[in-house]
Amino acid sequence: MTDVSVAFGGVTALSEVSLVVEPGQVHGLIGPNGAGKTTLFNVACGIVRADSGSITWRDRQLRRLRPDQLARLGIARTLQGVGLFAGLTVLENVMIGAHRHARAGFASALFALPRSDKDERELRTRATAALADLGAEHYADRYPGSLPYPVQKRVALARALVSSPDLLLLDEPASGLAEDEMRELGELIRTLSGRMSVLLVEHHMDLVMSVCDRVTVLDSGRLIASGTTEEVQADPAVTAAYLGEDVDVAHDAAELHSGDHSERAHRA
C-alpha cells in the first residue's frame, strides 16, 4: 500500500500512508482513537475507496475492486463489532465464510442435485473444522444472539479463517476479552502467521507487542513510525503521540517489552 490518502468531506482520515505487509508476518497497526486505523482497513478490504495512492497484493492492483472481489482473492477481515448473521446458526455463519470455496451453482441447488449436497457436505466439514480450531464446535447449532460476546468473537474469527485467506485483517479482536482469552488469542494469531499474513489493529499494547513482527503507528491519518516492535517502542514520536492521549498505554508497552522479546525468541 503506497501513498494512500482518504478524506471524508473535509476530514483527512489518511494522508499518504504507505505500508507493506510481508507474507507470513503479523503486522500491527496502532494509534490513538481517530488515527485512521479502521479507515485503512476499509481501504484494504474495499469498503472505502482511496482517493489516491495504490494498493497492490501479489502484483495485483486492488484500489478499484469491491469487497467481495477482494474476499475472493483471499483477503478476509473481521469487523470491529462482531457482525455475525443473526438469523443463521453458528455453523451457517461459518459456512458463509467459506463462500469462495463453494462450487455448486444455481442449477444444482434448484434441482437439489447430488452435486449440491456434496458441496454442502464439504462446506459443513470445513466450517466444523474451523469452529473446532477455535474451540467453538459445541455452539454449531446455536444462534449468535444467544451466545456470550467472547464466543461470538471466536465465531466471527472462524468465519474469517474458514476461507483460508492469504491476508487476514483483524480489527480489535481482543476488545471485550478477558486476560486468559486474550493470551489464547495471541497464541492463535502467532500460529496463523505461518499460513497467512495478518494485519492487526489492537489497543492492547501487550498483545500487539507480543504477537507482531512489525508495527506501524498512525496519528491523525499520518504515519509516524514503522518498524519492528523494538524500534517502534524506542521511537520518541510514538511516545509523544501516546502521551497526548493515554500515558498508560505507552507505559504498558514499554514495560512489557523485555518479557515479550524473550517469549518470542523462545517460540522461534
Binding site: 457482525g83 455475525l84 448473521f85 438469523g87 459456512m95
Partner: protein
C-alpha cells in the same frame, strides 16, 4: 410439509431460546429421512400430491375452484416470501408481475394453434423473470422505503400498459383467456381414482396444484441450499456478507428473478382459472394481499406462505357465511370480510408477530431449550 419450511427466522428476542441446545443429537427425528435433499423433498412432494388428490376428490366443484384460487395465490406468495423473508427485500409490485404472467399466458393461448400448456407456462415464467431482472437490478440499489416506493410505482404503472395497448391487451376490459380443455386421459384417470366426473374446473384445479407442487419443490431446494443461506446472510448483514465474498447486487437480483418467476407462474395459473387477464385484477390490492399472506403465515416460510394464502382465500367466504348465519343480508355479510381481515392481522401482530409458522417454531425452540437445561442440571 414441515420439511419444506425454512430456518429463516432468527429466534432473537425470545429469552427462552437463549439456551437452545447445541447437541446435534436432538435433531434426529423419529422417522429416518433420506440423506439426499432430492429424495427428501421428492418424498414430501409425493405426500403432498396424494393429499392434494384426496382434497380435490372429496370436495365439490365450488371448493375445487377455491383450491385453484389458493394455488395461484400460494405460488406467488411462495416467491414473495423468499424475496422478503429470506432476502429482506420488500416488493409492492408482485401483483404487477403476476399480470405479466397472466397476459403472456392469455396471448399465447389466443393463438390459433396454441402451444402445449407447460410450454406456455414456461414462456410466462421466462417473460416475467426478465421483467423481474430489470426491476431487481434497479431494486438492488434501493433500500426500505425507496424500494417499497419503486415497486409501488411498478404496481401502479404496469397495469396501465394494458390500457395503452388496447388492441393486443384488451384495454380496461382485459384479455379473455381461452382456458385449455382437459385432455381425455385426465377424465379417465379421475374416474379410475374416485369415480367423480372430470369437470373443466377440476382440470384447472389439478393444473394449479401441479404448478404449486413444482414451485414449492424447487423453492424448497433453493431455500435448503447454499443459495438460501447466502440470501439470508445478505438480509442479516450486507457488509459482513460482502466481506465474505458475496456480490450483493447479483444475489439481490437473483432473489428478485426467482421471486418474479413464481409471480409469473402464479399469474399464468390465475389467467386460466379466472379465464380473464384484466387490469382490475392486478391492482395494488393484490400485491398487499400477497404481503399479508406471507406475514400472517410467517416470513420466509413456504408452509407459512401456503397457510397465509389459504386464509386469504377461505376467510372472506367463512366470514360471509358466518355473517349470513348471524342474520345479516348478503351485502352486509360480504362487507364483513375486510373487517375480519383487519382484526386477524392485528391479532396476529400482537400474539404471533413471527407469523403462524414462525411462532410455532419459536415455541418448539423454547421447548427444546428447556429440555436441554433440564438435561444439563440433571447431570
Amino acid at each position: 410439509m414441515s420439511d419444506l419450511q425454512t430456518q429463516g427466522q432468527p429466534p432473537a428476542g425470545n429469552p427462552a431460546t437463549a439456551a437452545a441446545p447445541a447437541s446435534t443429537s436432538s435433531r434426529t427425528s423419529r422417522i429416518p429421512l433420506p440423506e439426499s435433499t432430492l429424495l427428501r423433498h421428492l418424498l414430501a412432494v409425493l405426500v403432498c400430491a396424494v393429499a392434494a388428490v384426496v382434497l380435490l376428490e372429496i370436495t365439490d366443484p365450488f371448493r375445487n375452484s377455491q383450491l385453484a384460487t389458493l394455488s395461484y395465490y400460494a405460488i406467488a406468495a411462495g416467491g414473495l416470501t423468499v424475496l422478503t423473508g429470506l432476502n429482506g427485500q420488500i416488493s409492492l409490485g408482485h401483483g404487477a408481475l403476476m399480470a405479466v404472467g397472466a397476459y403472456t399466458t392469455g396471448l399465447f393461448l389466443s393463438a390459433d394453434e396454441p402451444l402445449p400448456l407447460p410450454l406456455i407456462f414456461l414462456a410466462a415464467v421466462v417473460v416475467t423473470s426478465l421483467v423481474g431482472a430489470l426491476v431487481g437490478a434497479a431494486a438492488s440499489r434501493l433500500h426500505g422505503p425507496y424500494l417499497a416506493g419503486a415497486t409501488l410505482a411498478l404496481a401502479v404503472g404496469l397495469p396501465g400498459l394494458a390500457l395503452k395497448f388496447k388492441e393486443t391487451l384488451g384495454g380496461d376490459q382485459g384479455l379473455r383467456v381461452r382456458a385449455p380443455r382437459a385432455p381425455d386421459w385426465f377424465g379417465e384417470a379421475i374416474k379410475a381414482v374416485s369415480g367423480n366426473p372430470a369437470s373443466a374446473t377440476k382440470w384447472l384445479a389439478y393444473v394449479g396444484a401441479i404448478a404449486l407442487l413444482i414451485t414449492y419443490f424447487l423453492l424448497a431446494n433453493l431455500v435448503r441450499s447454499r443459495i438460501g443461506r447466502t440470501w439470508r446472510a445478505v438480509r442479516d448483514n450486507d457488509v459482513a456478507a460482502e466481506l465474505a465474498g458475496i456480490r450483493l447486487g447479483s444475489w439481490r437480483v437473483l432473489a428478485f428473478v426467482v421471486s418474479a418467476a413464481c409471480a409469473g407462474l402464479g399469474g399464468a395459473v390465475l389467467a386460466i382459472v379466472v379465464r380473464l387477464a384484466a387490469p382490475s385484477a392486478f391492482t395494488l390490492v393484490l400485491s398487499l394481499a400477497l404481503l399479508t399472506a406471507i406475514v400472517l403465515g410467517g416470513l420466509g416460510s413456504l408452509l407459512g406462505a401456503l397457510i397465509g394464502s389459504a386464509l386469504l382465500v377461505f376467510l372472506p367466504q367463512l366470514t360471509t357465511d358466518l355473517g349470513s348465519a348471524a342474520g345479516l343480508d348478503g351485502t352486509e355479510a360480504a362487507q364483513l370480510a375486510p373487517f375480519v381481515y383487519g382484526v386477524v392481522l392485528v391479532v396476529a401482530m400482537i400474539f404471533a408477530p413471527a407469523g403462524f409458522v414462525g411462532t410455532i417454531r419459536l415455541r418448539w425452540l423454547a421447548r427444546r431449550a428447556k429440555r436441554a437445561i433440564a438435561r444439563e442440571s440433571g447431570r
